[in-house]
């Protein structure tokens, strides 16, 4: 089936997303970035550039580089007076009072420019998906009128796309959060991007989304915050040195980049260092800019920008006849809503409500558009709903711990197996205890069942191979089988209640595991350390008996003493430090003995025997002797 995409056709940047495997994901551009500048350039030599490449040559070609086409699309020339003054290219009066961009004596309609951006997005997406993209959902601001919507649709047509639907940006954001599937709610969408600010109030629920009111500021965004920081840093530097960095193209470039980086950092830390060594020089030598910027300084110099968001929010609430108490959900959209002061303002205006921001705010609109495209194409209809295991499943192994075989959240049907071995020499049978849960200690988990596999041929510990297979079918019925690889003997159990836990029980078990995570990890480490120590002691004993009289007397005495200490430490469950200490000492002794062994004339020992237990995936199981 042909894939339909969702496109956030932005003023500054655009993004494209697709539903893959039931989930929407943003597709990176050919240049590897998740957004593409909404910029198109016509060069002197007649070349056409779109996106990042167009933006890079803007300074050289200010009259041939078209940006912000979205501010002009579907509008009449007489309406765009203000906008015309803020751009570097020529905007002229077109047929029937429409808007045209004039580049090298040719006229372009805004929708033709937007079409170029759309073309680039779908071409790049097509390369990623390995198929041509023909259908799309495109988003527009909620305040766009019919003519602006129609022109955006035309842009899609010019780009060779079938536009399945034009969707409001705030609506797409609500779809990305799946709010339409919930009951009736009033939702405030707060969108502060790079250069524009939009507020919308939505009525959402039962599969329908309606816009109650909208407001905003078409010239307010993250770029304004950047400029404040540039000025702050440049002013300080000028005070200290008398040099204005804003007059030096190279210095200004570095300063602008540093300002945005600083702003972004201050969203997660409360202070950061701007370091621009060798930023400039005068007769006295090189000059460096190093400055600590705190979040509170940043908040001071941008306080009025944040306050400018207040009016439009109040306006939208008044127009929608909604008070702070009526708002059920708040959604943050646009990269600039990551600024803590902005979030604080939103909370203040909505009665302290925690806003939704778990979906990346600069991608949420494109993601929601992709969801809409998926729904329109019926892509979500035919997916087989697959179950998952609510909790991990495993067996009890040596030291009373749980060894997981199927991790929680594994999609079923599933089959996993692991090979275990015996813990004692000549152990004739193993007990398989089937466990469910997330805790490390076997006793803290639920026992689903137990059985015994008997008839294991006498062999040194660690040698028999018992394969334990866990198989869960689509109905959640668990079959556990243990098979002796040597004799082929097998034993098993069928457990049908592995999946019929109610959600609160599952939640309790997961929360328990989280709460006890640190303690459980220590327990696991201790058991693992003791098991390691026990294996080494066992090897030392074996080597000693292999060596017989060839073992140097003092080495033997020391080894025997350490082995008996080890037995004590293991049975007393000695602290990890003590266990590690003994492990180190015993390892040394073992190395010494093995050296003696290889120089001794005695029967050639299996040099590999020392490492056999680590060689493959064999886990020593705590199989009680019968």
């Amino acid at each position: 089936m042909a894939t339909a995409v969702g496109i956030d056709l932005g003023t500054t940047n655009s993004a494209i997303a697709v539903v893959e495997g039931g989930r929407p994901t943003v597709i990176a551009s050919a240049e590897g970035s998740r957004t593409t500048p909404s910029v198109v350039a016509f060069t002197e030599s007649g070349e056409r550039l779109v996106g990042q490449l167009a933006k890079r040559q803007a300074v050289l070609n200010p009259r041939g580089t078209i940006y912000s086409a979205k501010r002009f699309i579907g509008r009449r020339f007489e309406e765009v007076d203000e906008e015309v003054r803020t751009v570097t290219f020529d905007v002229v009066d077109g047929p029937n009072g429409s808007v045209r961009f004039k580049v090298h004596d040719k006229l372009y309609a805004p929708e033709e420019i937007s079409a170029q951006v759309l073309r680039k997005l779908v071409d790049d997406a097509g390369k990623y998906l390995g198929e041509k993209v023909r259908e799309a959902v495109i988003t527009v601001p909620a305040y766009f009128n019919d003519s602006q919507r129609q022109a955006t649709k035309d842009a899609g047509k010019i780009a060779g796309l079938e536009v399945l639907r034009i969707v409001n940006e705030p609506t797409a954001a609500a779809l990305a959060y799946g709010l339409d599937r919930k009951g009736h709610e009033t939702v405030l969408v707060f969108d502060l991007g790079g250069g524009t600010f939009d507020v919308s109030l939505l009525d959402v629920g039962d599969g329908v989304v309606e816009v109650r009111s909208t407001s905003g500021d078409t010239h307010l965004g993250g770029d304004d915050f950047d400029r404040r920081l540039v000025d702050h840093l440049a002013d300080k530097f000028k005070n200290d040195t008398g040099i204005d960095l804003r007059n030096d193209a190279q210095a200004l470039q570095r300063l602008s980049e540093a300002a945005e980086k600083t702003k972004v950092e201050l969203s997660s830390v409360t202070q950061t260092q701007v370091s621009l060594p060798f930023i400039t020089a005068d007769s006295s030598g090189p000059k460096h800019l190093t400055e600590t910027v705190t979040r509170s300084t940043f908040e001071q110099i941008t306080a009025d920008l944040v306050e400018r968001c207040l009016g439009p929010v109040e306006q939208a609430m008044a127009d929608g006849k909604v008070s702070a108490n009526d708002i059920d959900e708040v959604i943050l959209v646009g990269g600039s809503t990551r600024i803590p002061a902005v979030q604080k303002l939103v909370r203040r205006l909505t009665g302290g409500k925690d806003p939704n921001m778990s979906v990346n705010p600069d991608e949420v609109v494109a993601l929601g558009a992709a969801v809409q495209a998926g729904v329109l194409k019926g892509e979500v209809k035919d997916v087989l709903l697959l179950d998952v295991t609510p909790l991990s499943l495993g067996v009890e192994t040596r030291g009373g711990v749980m060894t997981r075989i199927i991790e929680r959240n594994t999609t079923i049907p599933a089959r996993r197996s692991e090979v275990f071995s015996t813990a004692e020499d000549d152990q004739p049978a193993v007990d398989v205890v089937v466990l469910q849960g997330e805790r490390e200690r076997a006793a803290d988990n639920r026992v689903l069942g137990r059985f015994q596999l008997t008839g294991i041929r006498p062999a040194p510990r660690g040698e028999p191979q018992v394969e334990v297979i866990f198989d869960i079918d689509a109905n959640g019925i668990l079959n556990v089988t243990a098979r002796d690889k040597d004799t082929g003997a097998e034993q098993g159990i069928t457990i049908s209640e592995s999946s019929n836990l109610d959600t609160s029980e599952v939640e309790r078990m997961v929360t328990d595991a989280e709460a006890n995570q640190a303690q459980d990890r220590r327990l696991r480490e201790a058991v693992d350390a003791r098991n390691t120590l026990d294996s080494i002691a066992h090897q030392v004993e074996k080597t000693l008996s292999d060596l017989g009289d060839n073992a140097p007397a003092h080495e033997r005495a020391r080894a025997e003493m350490l082995v008996s200490e080890t037995r004590e430490a293991v049975s007393d469950e000695a602290p990890v430090e003590r266990v590690r200490e003994l492990t180190d000492e015993l390892t040394q002794v073992l190395n010494g003995l093995m050296a003696a062994q290889s120089s001794a004339p005695a029967p050639p020992p299996g040099g590999s025997s020392a490492t056999a237990s680590d060689d493959d995936d064999v886990v020593d199981a705590d199989f009680d002797r019968v």
Binding site: A28, G32, R56, V59, L60, A249, P286, L384
Partner: protein
Amino acid sequence: MTAQGDAANPAAGTGAGATPPASAPDRDIAELEDRWLRAMAELDNVRKRHSRELERQRAAERARVASVWLPVLDNLELALGHASDDPFAEGVRATLDQAVEVLARLGYPRHDATGVPFDPAVHEVVTVQDDPDAPPNAVVRVLRPGYGDLRPAAVAVSRQRE
């Protein structure tokens, strides 16, 4: 083994016993087979997508790690611009060359040539200059070198003549 055989028998028995819709189980089998094939195909596609995605993530992560070192390189280079030609500065210069070489080996060759025509694939114009000696649209000065796909060179370009 035997249990499986037993379970299959009664099902086969009822299927054969019903007279007219002999095609019904056939249809079921066909549908199940179709679903199974689709599931296998989807699995295969997921696997392919995953390996492609892994490749992409690896490249992106390498680029991210390499990028954060660029300012360090830039500053070292700016510092050397103020150094004289003593053996100490020579040594530091050799160190810088080494770093540039490392980046080239990682797949990010340096772009710092002047006199070449402006190319948006590797250059970003920061400023435009009048330079009667240079052809129009040529790189007359490199304000900051570029490195492969990590970053275009920031350049000054000679003005286009109208």
